[in-house]
């Protein structure tokens, strides 16, 4: 078994997603470079990946978020950017995890609307009722008997 020597030890990597009508990932990257101060920034089709010391990354994220708070979303990433075990340049096809991001990306506009609306209301209006979870209807005993009879005949 080969020895494993990790890269980027002690750093954190975070995804920055931008879903904004007024800012592209390229513009966000340019503005992020201006305040990067040693944080590694990689531009992607959906936003950025930022890697560096935890304090530096947190500071950079705080600055980036302020550009367009309801349209910029951040999450942690386990792998550093360009890691051959994850990078599609080595694997081909979509990066593992990309499809999950794509699925949630479609919902982001509702979250953005929620953030803007709550900010606009500012606690003045009554809070909206929490979403209710639908309970699955129980199987009726007569319906069960019908199913059993159908199966047996």
């Amino acid at each position: 078994m080969a020895e494993y020597i990790p890269d980027y030890v002690g750093t954190v990597t975070k995804y920055v997603f931008v879903e904004s009508p007024s800012m592209t990932p390229g513009e966000l990257a340019l503005r992020a470079y201006e305040v990067s101060e040693g944080v590694l920034i990689k531009e992607t089709c959906f936003g950025l990946q930022v890697t560096g010391e935890p304090e530096s990354v947190d500071r950079l994220i705080e600055v980036i978020r302020a550009f367009d708070p309801p349209h910029i979303f951040v999450k942690d990433r386990g792998f550093p950017p360009g890691d051959p075990r994850r990078c599609r340049a080595n694997l081909g096809g979509a990066r593992p995890g990309y499809l999950g991001h794509e699925r949630e990306f479609r919902i982001l506009r509702y979250i953005t609307h929620g953030l803007e609306e709550l900010d606009r209301r500012g606690g003045e209006e009554a809070e909206p009722a929490p979403p209710t979870l639908e309970k699955r209807p129980l199987l009726d005993i007569k319906r069960l008997q019908e199913l059993i009879d159908t199966e047996e005949s």
Binding site: K75, L99, G100, R103
Partner: protein, 150 residues
Amino acid sequence: MAKVFIYPATSLILSDLVARFGHKPLGAALGIRERIQTAGVDSPPLQITPEEPKRGLKYAAVEVPSGVRGRMAIYGPLLEEAEAAIIVTDADLAFGCMGCARTDELILFSLRQSGIPILELKYPANEEEGVQFVAAVKKFLDGLENGGET
């Protein structure tokens, strides 16, 4: 700042909202990062070594498949650390092989047994549900004992 476990553990929306409202999201990336940054035996792609299923014995019985125990070695410490949890119940992106599916069931079961505050939601399907979703998450996070930082 409370430590909030998120399910799906890879969720962008939940991770962002928890951090945005001043708490620490506990997701899969933290467990994976710990393994990726620890020197040892090369075991690509996730650095899950034969030691992980042994560690997973703390969370699942020995007759449980090693795939579930290996995954629980990542999620188990996060579940222990969690002070609250947010669960999205209709997350169709949280699908996977049988190992992932059974691990997800065990995670949800462990969370519900742990007695920590849990918020269960569905993903919003329109703008009004988006407002409800964000308001419910904000109210839940504001109500946690350790408070938020916003």
